[in-house]
Symmetry: C2
Subunit: 332 residues, 2 copies
């Protein structure tokens, strides 16, 4: 059995690095793991964007999840919040409650975690480890130039509403695991599982959207619920063409109710939903090509005293949908 300190040292501290030099200046040496606090500072004229997410066994992942995938996802969901603000990843802390110090599990978990962290130049700068029911809490730090963060309260009347990638594959994967439906073939089953377990945070897209998008967020709890956050904070309503919401072919082939549950209310997608003025369409087409992420226009922002979503089908006819975002105290 490893002690707490040798566990931290073996799987985390040795792979942790001082925050990258771009946060450095001569007066401010950054300090990472091993002191009471980490010390970091954003560059002059920048703010630090901070987000925290807690992942719990049985709620956010299954007990038998591949620990490598779990390490990836624990950081990915946090990087996704930075992406949604247009912030550049810089550092993170990890707090970890473990039922036991299982070396093979920890090795795979930390491999998955650091593979993603290194890809985004995001340094582990501190943390905490304890015994207890499995629980992962990551707090992530990014930097964004003053005044350029993509906020939820900035949607404007007439804005287009955009979504990145495709929606619903993660929820389709969950449904397949639960036996709600079956994947049509093994390749699709693998795609769905990957969408559920290894979401790719849209960091490059978030950075490219600075100065282009008005409001933005990441879709973690389902399009319908998350878009409502933008609408409430911006005091706007949305008219959305439900059939234009981008889906993979496999999700599109599901029965209507299942397809809409996945695409419009499925959680865990971690795509970005954002609004942008009509005259940004060409710029957004270029951005989509440059960052290699498809962008799809799904509707329009309208001024309104009562925030809400008006759903229409491809012909423009009104659709009545009862959808609910993911709620950790109600869903499932």
């Amino acid at each position: 059995m490893l002690s707490e300190f040798s566990l931290i040292d073996r799987f985390f501290a040795r792979r942790a690095t001082a925050p990258s030099p771009r946060f450095d200046d001569e007066a401010a040496t950054p300090l990472g793991i091993g002191d009471d606090c980490a010390l970091i500072a954003p560059p002059a004229g920048h703010q630090l964007a901070i987000s925290t997410d807690m992942l719990v066994e049985g709620r956010h992942f299954f007990a038998d999840v591949d620990p490598h995938a779990l390490g990836h996802k624990a950081l990915a969901v946090n990087l996704s919040d930075l992406a949604a603000m247009g912030a550049k990843p810089h550092a993170f802390t990890l707090a970890l409650a473990l039922p036991r110090a299982d070396e093979a599990w920890l090795e795979a978990f930390s491999d998955g975690l650091f593979a993603l962290a290194e890809r985004h130049d995001c340094a582990l700068v501190g943390g905490d480890t304890t015994s207890g029911p499995l629980n992962l809490c990551i707090t992530v730090f990014g930097d964004v130039p003053d005044g350029t963060a993509l906020r939820r309260d900035a949607a404007q009347p007439g804005d287009d509403i955009w979504v990145s990638g495709t929606l619903g594959d993660a929820r389709a994967g969950l449904g397949a695991i639960r036996g709600e439906w079956r994947a049509p073939d093994d390749a699709t089953a693998a795609d769905w599982k990957r969408a559920l377990e290894r979401p790719e945070p849209r960091v490059a897209l978030g950075l490219a959207l600075r100065g282009v998008a008005h409001a933005a967020l990441d879709i973690s709890d389902g399009l319908a619920g998350d878009l409502m956050h933008i609408l409430k904070r911006s005091g706007m309503r949305a008219v959305v063409d439900a059939d234009s919401v981008p889906c993979s072919d496999a999700v599109r082939a599901l029965p209507d109710a299942a397809r809409r549950a996945c695409a419009l209310a499925g959680g865990d997608d971690y795509e970005l939903c954002f609004t942008a003025p009509v005259d940004a369409r060409d710029t957004l087409a270029n951005i989509a090509t440059r960052v290699k992420v498809p962008l799809t226009r799904i509707g329009t922002i309208e001024s309104s005293g009562a925030p809400g979503i008006v759903w229409r089908d491809a012909s423009g006819a009104p659709l009545s949908l009862t959808l609910q975002g993911f709620d950790h105290f109600h869903a499932d």
Copy 2:
């Protein structure tokens, strides 16, 4: 049953505030709860000190703990890390896994949390709530002028070693709950319980020690283990007069073995241990008076190739002590 969002709104978001104005400038409006990320920035010439702690039922607190005390302690242990760096509290995030949304429990917990937060002008700026076995993860942010943080690696040969307050009451309280010993009277039992459940982070002391102390940390896992962190990182050894370690009268009255277990290796004290040059003694006496926290000199730093603690008794005779700091995968 409250939904996740109404729970956040009712007990936390309404009491959360935008970070205090001292972090403001015209270009950088801080953003608190309700967006993907919080946005904060330390003042020019300052670094952000960051610490994270995770508290788990059965390990850091008992299932029947007073939730008001738990709210206090969850933030206190994090503020203590800021104090140990000489950082001024600014903001925190809270991630919370709850087995159920119990309104009375949440009201008392948030009351305890915000009472301490408001006392230290420390704003809740973000968080996450989920269902799951009870788990609290707080990440705290403070600011410290560049180059003035109290680090663990800065002890110098000849430094005095100092401890604030008294050590061992929290461990004595734990021992009383476990039946290892009994408090001599009800007043002492209450003192011990308060030490265990409501530690007071030494924030004012930490700020006063900037530019005076060399190395510092907070004693969360017991003096012996925590002092070793300073010694290892500074490459020094310590000669400590075990009998000079400050204790309450009630701890001092315990049998020798119990007294030393409490005072020298007991966890959860959250006092500061620091080193300072001999010529700072008068300054430290003034600081002790000003911040109303007793400071006691317990030993000396010596240069050494092998970090370690040499224990002596009041007469200077060597003591052989086998002590171990608190380790979440071994202790108890």
